[in-house]
Amino acid sequence: MSKNLNAIQIADKVYWVGAIDWGVRNIHGYTTDRGTTYNAYLVMDDKITLFDTVKKEFEDEFLSRIASIVNPEKIDYIISNHSEPDHSEVLPEIIKAVKPEKVFASVMGKKALNAIYHDLNMEITAVKDGEELGLGSKTVKFMETRMLHWPDSMFSYLVEDKVLLTQDAFGMHLASSERFGEELPWGVLKTHVSGYYANIITPYSSHVAKLFEKIDTSGLEVSIVAPDHGPVWRNMDNFRKVLSLYKKWSARKLDEKIVIVYDTMWGSTEKMANHIEDGARSSDVSVEMMPLYSFERSMIALEMLDASAVIVGAPTLNNNIFPSLADVLTYIKGLKFKTPYGAVFGSYGWSGEGNNLLREYLVSIGVEIVDEIKSKYVPDDKVKEECFLLGQAVANKVKEFIKNQ
């Protein structure tokens, strides 16, 4: 019987010492329906080295897992691959308690940590891309990955064991007892890895593409990929599937799919949405219907990741769009999807500004508007027919786009 929560070995002298957050449901506006983990890793070499820490409220769990292997005070080096608080909040405490010999971060990481914590009581050693650090029998090679997904982000590569510690890249928000990808069903992994990319990584897709170029040219061999959230990738067949998804998304390859995002006050905009969906389906294109009284922004992002068109509908409310649309459109704009086509629709009673505002929004994010339809109050047969045709028109654009992609 251990008095401590246990560390889990992931490679020779390399241990997972993170924390499992079963209950978190919102991480900076991204809904995490299955919680997450904050992964930290401990390497037991001549220099006992800790990679990243955890969120403040998990300090005890984290220290307990370290203590199952070694007295935390024996830690020599701490390496911060990512400054975001869920990976660094315990750093000031642990520096105080452990008094490590050195703390390493990227050049941008050093700046970020000093701007986040004003009481580190320690000079952080900045390391550059390609720099190596000997731990005894093992070597760490640092790899700058700026803007994946923060300026400070870097990977650490354990050269002898071919273990790549990738902080937030290739991660997912998924709490599970299983520590390794191969212990979980691929469908679950795919959903969460997609959600993570859509909600976190999308704006930095060009950086992902550059990273792959860099890895391909350097011929980096990897046997284990250990991110800062979710399971560790130990089975490379599984990880190769993740890689191919990352390659698809970073190259902005899209599917023959339309997302219809709308909300409704008294059912009219929803009626329009249903006829648009009917028209799109009649052209045999897959459609995701996403009413915002049930779906929230992270789910919309997940579906927009590989959609070729987004059709947005809002009732006009007090000369504006319905507020749930403003939330989602703001979020989507920040994620910088490259959706080629779209359309707008909505019901109104007297002023009817909704469509104009929706159109401006979509145009501002580079979407080509195929068509738009307004319905004064409840849609009549003529409006319903127009909605059906709008769905068909967008579907035809999508099919054309996919054929030429």
């Binding site: 941008m108 700058e144 700026r146 803007m147 300026p151 704006p203 930095y204 060009s206 950086h207």
Partner: protein, 53 residues
């Protein structure tokens, strides 16, 4: 002299300030920045910059 904005992270290149940390002296117009210069915040290339509106 025009300012330029990084489309990726929002960093603003101000030619009056330059980027002395990375060898671009004050007064260097964006057009005269070396080809291998990258955004000091996010490492995007100069092709990711647009003129500030």
């Amino acid at each position: 002299m025009n300012k330029y904005v990084c489309d990726v992270c929002g960093y603003v290149y101000d030619p009056e300030i330059g980027d002395p940390d990375n060898g671009v002296s004050p007064g260097t117009t964006f057009e005269d920045i070396p080809d291998d210069w990258i955004c000091p915040t996010c490492a995007a290339g100069s092709e990711s910059f647009s003129p500030a509106s």
